[in-house]
């Protein structure tokens, strides 16, 4: 039960990997830091400055989207344009820079982000759970479904996908390629920020809270087959639930070993992930 909420959170972050990948074939490895940024900015506005929660959350998401635009403009575009893969390292570095910048500005101590949805546990199927833990999967699945529809059914979504197939052709068709990629980055970091805001009341807010989430989410994205939004979300939930089950059944010493071995095994058997499609190579 508790794995569901965590898994959906991995899924949300992994969706961010998915969205930039399908649009531009690049991913932002500072997603973990975006999770942290969402939580830290949300905390600062809501708790420190006492803003109403919806306004604070919206501002945090805007801040994350802005960070995404910045990452795309400075850490991805210059390298991708030259056909270099250095964006990979550049985004990792960008994440570390952000983590440490937050360490200096936000402070060194973990802080608590209280939420009315994580105060009184309710009982579901005999297990105590915070209402927030039910809300997270709901939001996750809704967003994954919405994203899937957006990409496949709407003109704008199709425009997004056209960019990755052939950027030049897309440009000739009047699609603003640069803007489309930038938007996908903003969307991806906003998703990570949302995950951060959602998990913060269950966790604590500090500058390195996102790192491990980022790594697990990337594993989830690959596992789900990075090209399918619903696949990525499903893989996230699967990962979270499996993680909790392994801990409960075998004991916590085995969790990481079993989980990451399973990821490797799954990828060896299904190289395109559980729900991904092999890229079509035209000869």
């Amino acid at each position: 039960m508790s794995g569901l909420a965590l898994g959906s959170m991995y899924g949300l972050i992994a969706l961010g990997f998915h969205i930039t990948y399908v649009v531009s074939n690049t991913v932002n490895f500072s997603q973990g830091s975006s999770v942290m940024l969402g939580a830290v900015v949300g905390y600062t506005f809501a708790v420190r400055l006492g803003w109403p929660l919806p306004l604070a959350m919206a501002s945090a998401l805007v801040a994350c989207a802005a960070f995404g635009l910045l990452v795309e403009r400075t850490l991805v575009r210059p390298f991708a344009q030259r056909g270099s893969n250095a964006w990979l390292m550049a985004t990792v570095a960008g994440g570390i820079v952000l983590d440490n910048a937050v360490l200096f500005t936000f402070g060194k101590e973990p802080r608590s982000f209280p939420s009315p949805l994580a105060m009184q546990p309710i009982e579901v199927l005999g297990a105590g759970i915070f209402p927030l833990q039910l809300l997270i999967p709901l939001i996750g699945i809704t967003i994954a479904g919405g994203l899937s529809l957006l990409l496949r059914r709407t003109r704008r979504g199709k425009a997004l996908l056209a960019v990755v197939q052939n950027a030049d052709a897309a440009r000739l068709m009047g699609i603003d390629v640069k803007r489309t990629i930038a938007v996908s980055y903003a969307l991806s970091t906003a998703l990570a920020g949302l995950a951060g805001l959602l998990i913060a009341p269950l966790f604590s807010v500090h500058s390195d809270m996102g790192t491990l989430f980022g790594i697990k989410a990337f594993a989830v994205a690959i596992l789900g087959g990075i090209t399918s939004a619903s696949g990525v979300m499903f893989a996230g939930i699967l990962y979270g639930v499996a993680e909790a089950l392994v801990t409960a059944l075998l004991g916590s010493s085995y969790t990481q070993i079993v989980m990451f071995t399973a990821v490797i095994a799954a990828l060896a058997l299904m190289p395109n992930g559980l729900f991904g499609r092999a890229p079509v190579r035209k000869v």
Partner: protein, 394 residues
Amino acid sequence: MHAQVEFANIARRLLLAGALAFAITLPAKAQEVVKLGLVAAMSGQSAKSGEAIVRGLSIAIDEINARGGLLGKKVELIVRDDESNPAKGAIAARELVQREKVAALFGGLDTPVSLAIVPFANQNKIPFMGVWAAGTPITRNGAAENYVFRVSAVDELVDKALVDYSLAKYQAKKPGMILINNPWGESNEKGLKAALAAKNIPYAGIEKFETNDVDVVPQLSRLKEAGADVLYLVANVAPSSQVVKSLDRMGWAVPIVSHWGPAGGRFSELAGPSAAKVHFIQTYSFSGKLSPKGEAVLAALQKKYPEIKTLADVTPAVGIANAYDAMHLTGLAIAKAGSLEGPKVREAFYAIDTYPGLIKTYQKPFSPANQDALSEKDYIFTHFVEGEILPLTQ
């Protein structure tokens, strides 16, 4: 002719003596201050601990310098951040000794980092004073000439105290352990098992969790099913609060007897109202009626660090108090040795007779058989009430 030779001889001798004197004064000039090094977590989750240690050391150094310093020189503290990373700590220790030429090293909160520095300190004959990390093998490291001293808790003794407390207060019959998955957790796993075995008490289970685990419900459920009636908790402040929050969700009101991890930060904010249920060990508390020394140190702290407004800001008290006493003991050893040479300072530590400190009055605090100045008699149990650490009576 003869006189000329004589003159040349004298001149040569004078030159030689001058050169010799110069050679002697050169290093002495570079050592106009007594440099002491600190390797501790100044950033990351445990950054608050490093800040507390710096404060404790600085207050003691100010007092020593006000009395004329050590060996006629001012004492200067050089701080390096280990980021809670053993490799970084080991490099920092090497840099402090080899480049900054510090006379002694102080250690921080993380047992893994201190363990990485111990072999270096022993090989290079540099006194290494632990003021926080409680891992048993830090001081009990098996070196023939042990340069590692400590003014802090020792896991093995803490574990005995935790077991004793759980028996006296809660009549524990089958305790369970929830431990952080690192060398500190391991050190306490051994200690708790031994302490329980000595009392002939079985344990319900041993569960580990990670620093960044959000949810500890699966581990705690295993302990609950195994029939645990008391939990021993060993983890730093943020992971400890995840345990408390997970217990809240489960609705499991089990007594928690904890090592001192929760003291390292804003535990009552992070863990919520249930934080007060966690009873944890401390070596010192600034709450309640203070000794004159306690009053003086508190006043000095408030004067030097204006951001300290209430007692809730004097956290973590153990870091401040241990560091304060450790600095004065180190100062006494250096003064007694009359030298900054490691082997002489080491011998002088053993020669310290009485030191009326903040935590207690130390009588012969160190001997080659026991390099720890504090014992289980010096521990107190405390809990958090609205951000302040208050002592509990047994």
